[in-house]
Symmetry: D2
Subunit: 137 residues, 4 copies
């Protein structure tokens, strides 16, 4: 329902700290990418867990907005992350989100996170978003 550009502009106002680029959105899915900076790294040259969670959170939000339109009141209600492999410091983190359900009050999706160019995911996320009732949007 919303274009990539509309969502990108909205994300910029809602998550001013987000450094995520929207690669694609639509058909109950979204792909986002994030450059890794000094503040995302942990000693040993890996990407911090909270950075991964933040990328997944935005990927889910972008996919939800792609389905229901720009709805500022949509909020994450839960998020489960499993860390699978060490992300590489020198590669962008890619988040690929697929929504499993977009109901009237709840959307549920999963996100696979990758170090760009690698085949095996570094983490996997399942998240739920509460969608405000139509008359409150």
């Amino acid at each position: 329902m919303s274009s990539k550009e509309q969502i990108a502009a909205f994300i910029k106002t809602e998550f001013p700290q987000a450094r995520v680029v929207i690669e694609s959105v639509g058909d109950k899915s979204a792909i986002v990418a994030q450059e890794i900076g000094e503040s995302d790294l942990r000693p040993g040259g890996t990407v911090s867990g909270p950075t991964l969670m933040a990328v997944a959170d935005v990927a889910l939000y972008v996919a939800v907005l792609g389905e229901i339109g720009i709805v500022p009141l949509a909020v994450t209600t839960s998020l489960t992350i499993n860390f699978l492999r060490r992300p590489e410091a020198g590669r962008r983190i890619i988040g690929e989100c697929k929504l499993m359900k977009v109901g009237k009050t709840l959307a549920i999706g999963e996100v696979s996170l990758y170090s760009e160019g690698r085949e095996e995911p570094v983490a996997h996320v399942v998240g739920t978003y509460a969608i405000p009732p139509a008359h409150l949007r």
Copy 2:
């Protein structure tokens, strides 16, 4: 096994971005606190989800280190967060962690997150940590 000061020093090197203060640690539990800065806020004056997740992650780590000693190789393997209420922008986030199990290879704990001074939690986290085998520590 480790004192609050040892753990605080270690956290500072492992999570150089962390702005968490350790209030207490010991007896399979830990309490940490984090000042909220501009970069933690979302429009409307609430604390971002990734900031809450980061505080919970550190609270778990501190509690685990309090039990097993300073073990750099311990890593988060999973984290489930449920967002319960809007945190307040002007209050520190307090994370209270209780470990439910500290096994040979896995530690599991829960963290209740609060806006300082409030009774009702803003979020609840369950997380697991992988503990490296003794000969690798």
Copy 3:
């Protein structure tokens, strides 16, 4: 809002297979107990995972009904279980549920599961319930 007896009668019609006894309910919490039968056991004399999940699911449901009254349409939307210790075959499973939030559309609670008489939990559950809007109840 509902008495223990009302909820017990309702559970009996909604979960006819449930063999759970309600020990207490009220004040955003509930305690339930389940006898362990042959069909709940795994070789080696421990209680199966699905049996533990079923007890936790009922404990959450009982606690929710205790708050919002008898609402047949309330449904579990998610459940996260962490298995902590081997339950004992010869002891009832006790589920202690505390609700963390009872909102208009969602209730969230945690359940600690015990082998009766033991201090350390055998498993920990976080679950969410969708509450139907008032005009649909």
Copy 4:
């Protein structure tokens, strides 16, 4: 590493109550199916949550055994289920598992559960299995 028949025989001894049929296993994945009986139903003609969790648990176990061989000591350590749609009483439940990681001590996979013949999943599960060290197998 193990054939479908070997795993089926093993599951029968480990989960004597399981009524699951293994449709396929291999390549870090597994598909299982379960007939729905009276004891799996809830009033209104839907399949109970614990039945879904049990199918997912076995699907994960079968996929893990397909990778590491018959290892009796492997145990579920956590399971997160999101309920998406009402399953239909008259259809078998199909569980499709894909392992995301098979490490030395931990395997992580996801399971999509379907009412047989339907396209949209009724539930989604992420689970972790602890794998005993080689010298204990």
